[in-house]
């Protein structure tokens, strides 16, 4: 059974690491101590650098990677979607209880099983203002879930993610600061997120229609996006507006 001391040893190994290779090696060792065979750590550092592919640190076998790439997982992956609804680690076998799965999702999961991908345990790592990430441990099909080790896995996953986040931050120091919005722009975006048209927003705020159009045009320029939906998504993502703001009346 994995112990807290093993988690501590892992943390000592990675706390000052400056190399992805070292982090991957430490993860590889701790993964086996935890009773798993494979690990995968993923994170988008910044949605605004979106053309850059997701960073993935893993030791998945070639045909698993192929399977994930074929199904362009990452965005629609049921595991990742489930990791957005909790902050606590979960076994993949529990996903149907956590999110509604479409027939296509079921098909994806079944195909994974056919490729030999068994059950896994994913620790979500969601930091406000950043895209979501996670750290997963997995076994080939047929292997039992090492239930007793899951608390250690939870801890290792949380700290591994932070170690990776630190590495990637150092690697991309040119992170663009989020655009600054004026209060009026922010207010207009809030109403966009609530589904109001420019004219409706002008009525609600008691300002000229053209003024609303101008505020939103300038806000779109600051985010370099063309559409109002993307504007709302970006503002929500970087914390300029929040879900609470949108639903508050």
């Amino acid at each position: 059974m994995a112990t807290f001391e093993q988690a501590e040893a892992f943390l000592r190994d990675v706390s000052d690491t400056t190399s992805e290779v070292e982090l991957a090696e430490a993860l590889d060792i701790v993964t086996r101590e935890l009773g798993f065979t494979y690990f995968a750590l993923t994170h988008h550092v910044d949605i605004r650098l979106a053309p850059q592919p997701a960073i993935r640190l893993h030791n998945y076998p070639g045909d698993w990677v192929e399977y994930y790439d074929e199904n362009s997982l990452g965005v629609s992956d049921p595991v990742h979607r489930a990791s957005h609804v909790t902050s606590v680690g979960f076994a993949w076998s529990r996903i149907p209880e956590m999110i509604a799965l479409t027939p296509h999702d079921h098909e994806i999961l079944a195909r994974g099983g056919a490729r030999g991908i068994g059950d896994g345990f994913t620790i979500p790592a969601n930091v406000p203002g950043e895209t979501h990430g996670s750290c997963s441990f997995a076994n080939p099909a047929g292997a039992a879930m090492p239930q007793d080790n899951l608390p250690v896995a939870q801890l290792v996953g949380a700290f591994a993610f932070e170690a990776a986040r630190r590495l990637w931050r150092v690697r991309s120091p040119q992170l663009i600061p989020p655009p600054r919005l004026t209060d009026r722009q922010r207010e207009c975006i809030l109403w966009v997120a609530r589904g109001k048209s420019d004219w409706e927003i002008s009525r609600i705020l008691g300002i000229e229609h053209e003024t609303v159009v101008r505020h939103l045009k300038q806000a779109r320029e600051r985010y370099s996006v063309a559409k109002r939906t993307m504007l709302a998504v970006h503002a929500l993502f970087d914390g300029s507006i929040s879900f609470t703001d949108i639903f508050r009346r």
């Binding site: 807290f4 902050s87 250690v152 932070e162 929040s242």
Partner: protein, 206 residues
């Protein structure tokens, strides 16, 4: 603005603290559904809100509460050793240079951007306070989602034990080691705010 308050026998009589107790009730009782005592249906106060508790308050330009935290000495019973000893693999760190951070509270009325700013101010103020008062270590208990955020502040954290389920939540205990290098670490994560390092007006009890 950052306010440091300590030494009050009747903290509810201090307007700044009263606002904080109200904010705490809205966050910890109404929102997070913690099972903690509430006074007069409005204020969240427990047995640790006594003259030994130190409060760090962040207020907005009108002097209203935006964020706060309570620091407890570890040289007497505190939350970690009293309520959550099972979260520690060995006895939790204690001593005159170890304080426990409890009731980290961000006002519910804040909008997203203000909320992050208030949080950044409070974390920076905690670090400034530790450096000024020779505090080497903070300890604390956090729910896992929040724990991940605490790690992401960039300061040096270590777990004190394995996370465990408590009242349907997965909790973990952490130690945060503070040194003169800590502000630079926060800076790297983009959350350090210089302002709180200025001496804060202390509301010392007479």
């Amino acid at each position: 603005m950052v306010i440091i308050a300590r030494g009050f026998h009747e903290p509810l009589r201090v307007p700044e603290l009263r606002q904080m107790f109200e904010a705490r009730k809205r966050v910890f009782v109404d929102l997070l559904k913690w099972d903690v005592p509430v006074l007069e249906g409005r204020y969240e106060l427990d047995q640790f809100d006594d003259p030994q508790a130190t409060y760090i308050l962040v207020t907005d330009e009108d002097g209203r509460h935006s964020a706060s935290a309570r620091l407890l000495p570890t040289t007497r019973p505190h939350i970690l050793d009293t309520l959550f000893p099972e979260l520690c693999a060995s006895p939790p760190p204690r001593g005159p240079d170890v304080l426990e951070i409890t009731r980290f509270c961000l006002g519910r009325g804040l909008r997203a951007a203000q909320r992050l700013e208030a949080r950044n101010c409070l974390v920076s103020a905690l670090v400034a306070y530790a450096i000024e008062h020779d505090i080497a270590t903070y300890t604390g208990v956090a729910e896992m989602g929040w724990l991940q955020q605490i790690l992401a502040f960039g300061w040096r954290c270590r777990p004190l034990g394995l996370p465990r389920h408590h009242d349907g939540k997965l909790l973990g205990a952490l130690r945060i080691d503070i040194s003169p290098k800590t502000p630079a670490l926060l800076e790297r994560s983009g959350i350090f705010r210089e302002a709180p390092l200025a001496p804060a007006p202390a509301l010392e009890a007479a």
